[in-house]
């Protein structure tokens, strides 16, 4: 029991209609581990991490988070969602609330935290993502990079034990990618358990403990970034790497 995996997927399968989107996915993630998941579009990477907080339901196999199994039981789902933060490609900030209200909403309504305390915590995280001065603006008034940093802070306010990132920089203009990646690197250095779906191979190299390559619903290869980038084993990985690193 020294290293019970924090997240465990056992032979998880999922179909969209006839389309077999996840095939026998098995994966275990230890506490504090940083994992980068890459692969061509439609390979099931997003679906896989979305299964971990049940934004998608898996149809076969088992998923455990901190020893709790994800089932149809709403209690389990709620318990797991409290431990798992998520950052989306399209930010998904609440446009009708100010930045500060976006951050304090879940602590106040889910954790029943007093408003003042929730605001203190929110300001701490806004400072950490370098935008405390935007607290009283609305998301629509911020740049994409700022919005994504707010979204990261919003997740952190719930004090999650693991953070899922679903292509967090794909919707950003190039000059804003760095500011978001910097926040993610800082988060990784603080010891957060992270699963990151991304095409930012620089980030994978510097931060990841493991890189997972998915294609057509399967985990094709799984290795340290060093090995993964210098000695890819499968042909599909080689092809993928040549496509995204080739220019």
């Amino acid at each position: 029991m020294v290293d019970q995996p924090f997240i465990q997927l056992n032979r998880v399968n999922k179909w969209y209609g006839e389309f077999h989107v996840l095939r026998d996915i098995s994966l275990s993630v230890a506490k504090g581990e940083r994992i980068v998941i890459c692969g061509p579009s439609g390979s099931g990477k997003s679906t896989m991490i979305r299964c971990i907080n049940r934004l998608e339901e898996h149809q076969q196999g088992q998923i455990f988070v901190e020893g709790i199994e994800l089932t149809n039981d709403v209690k389990n789902v709620d318990a797991i969602r409290r431990e798992v933060g998520m950052v989306f490609q399209s930010f998904n900030l609440f446009p009708h609330l100010t930045v500060l209200e976006n951050l304090t909403l879940a602590p106040i309504w889910v954790k029943q935290m007093p408003k003042a305390e929730a605001e203190d915590i929110a300001m701490t995280y806004l400072k950490r993502v370098q935008i405390p001065e935007q607290a009283h603006k609305y998301p629509g008034q911020l740049s994409g990079g700022q919005q994504q940093r707010v979204a990261i802070a919003r997740s952190l306010c719930m004090n999650p034990k693991v953070m899922l990132f679903d292509e967090p920089t794909s919707a950003l203009d190039p000059e804003m990618i760095k500011e978001v990646l910097d926040v993610m690197v800082e988060l990784a250095e603080s010891g957060m358990t992270m699963l990151v779906v991304t095409h930012e191979m620089g980030f994978a190299r510097t931060v990841a403990d493991r890189v997972i390559f998915m294609d057509r619903g399967e985990i094709v290869e799984e290795d340290t970034p060093e090995e993964f980038f210098t000695h890819p084993k499968s042909d599909r990985t080689k092809l993928f790497l040549s496509q995204i690193l080739g220019h």
Binding site: R81, G85, P95, L105, Q141, R154
Partner: protein, 363 residues
């Protein structure tokens, strides 16, 4: 280009800007438009003069029906003469202050509610208190007020009550129906769809008719439910079905990511609806919702089919007096003016609300 280089500001030619430019572009751009402009001007002047003569200059504002017959213009005296029946229907004449006070209280509460800073629980309690006071004023029987049965309620207070209570009660019901229609639970979904489609599929007049004529047939012997209350329930059900469909449109317009973000933060279904989804959905559907509200306000006139005297029916009945029968146009204009004031207020207020709630959302 040399101007710009020299640093001076270049302007469009004077003939294309300002009043002159506007006139030129819109009214006098060619000979045909010039002709149309002058023709329209002629019609406006002649028609306008006739209208002003009739409605103001030659009109009789005070006097008897004989004075009116002598005059050539409008007879506004009919409004003064029949004001009690027009505004309050068959409500006892000597108790007129009661419906007047109830109407005034309603309007004050409404105006107070327009202030966004006051929205909240106290205002809700204020509305309930207002309705109770209005009910006591109208009904009487306590505090030394003579009892007046609902049969004799009528006119403006009746129109305001039927429509405002109708809208206030139909709104939450409509929300629940809209959520029900989008529910993943099959029975709830089926019930919501059935209710909405059934009610929307029949005219309001038949709902009112059923409420007044058929509904009592299903009640056990000796049990009666007030006719006014039955009409009110009919109006609420009808409005709820329309509101539900408008709100459903709004729910569909909220991006899927908003639902996912709320889920991912661990918000329960009801909390995410209340805090995240509905505030966005409702902002989107303000225009169709206010359209429904305005429609409901005017449709309350249909209660005349079951013998209630709403404002319009009261006005219509008031000119049955043979002496004043000739002046129906003036009476109807009065009724139209009262309806217009309330509808225009709703319309303007909804525009204000849209701007208010859009604050900060657009760059």
């Amino acid at each position: 280009m040399t101007d710009i280089a020299a640093g001076s500001v270049s302007r469009p030619p004077a003939a294309q800007t300002g009043v002159v430019g506007w006139l030129r572009q819109n009214l006098f751009s060619n000979w045909f438009n010039c002709a149309l402009t002058f023709l329209a001007l002629y019609v406006i002047v002649v028609g306008g003069k006739a209208l002003v003569d009739w409605a103001l200059l030659d009109a009789t504002f005070v006097g008897t029906f004989e004075d009116c017959r002598k005059g050539t213009g409008a007879c506004w005296a009919v409004v003064a003469e029949k004001r009690h029946f027009m505004l309050f229907g068959t409500y006892p004449y000597e108790e007129a202050w009661r419906p007047a006070a109830a109407t005034a209280l309603f309007i004050v509460t409404l105006l107070v509610s327009t202030r966004r800073s006051l929205w909240g629980r106290p205002l809700m309690i204020g509305w309930i208190a207002s309705f109770i006071v209005m009910g006591v004023l109208m009904r009487g029987g306590v505090l030394g007020l003579t009892p007046v049965t609902t049969e004799n309620w009528g006119g403006l207070p009746l129109t305001l009550m039927l429509s405002s209570i109708g809208i206030i009660a139909a709104f939450p019901l409509g929300l629940v129906l809209a959520l029900g229609r989008r529910s993943t639970m099959p029975i709830i979904k089926a019930l919501s769809v059935a209710f909405i489609e059934l009610v929307r599929g029949v005219p309001l007049i038949s709902v009112l008719f059923m409420a007044s004529v058929m509904f009592p047939l299903f009640l056990p012997e000796g049990v009666t439910i007030d006719k006014l209350l039955r009409a009110q329930v009919g109006i609420i059900m009808f409005a709820a079905a329309y509101i539900a469909e408008a709100v459903r449109g709004g729910l569909q317009a909220v991006p899927k990511g908003q639902f996912e973000a709320a889920d991912a933060l661990g918000l329960s279904y009801w909390k995410s609806m209340r805090l995240i989804i509905l505030p966005q959905a409702l902002r989107i559907v303000i225009p169709p919702l206010v359209g429904i509200f305005i429609g409901m306000f005017k449709d309350t006139s249909l209660v005349l089919i079951i013998g209630l005297y709403d404002l319009l029916n009261a006005v219509r009945t008031s000119i049955n007096d043979p002496n004043w029968r000739a002046f129906g146009t003036e009476a109807y204009i009065f009724a139209a003016a009262v309806f217009f004031v309330f509808c225009y207020f709703m319309s303007k207020y909804s525009q204000y609300l849209e701007r208010l709630l859009a604050a900060g959302r657009n760059r």
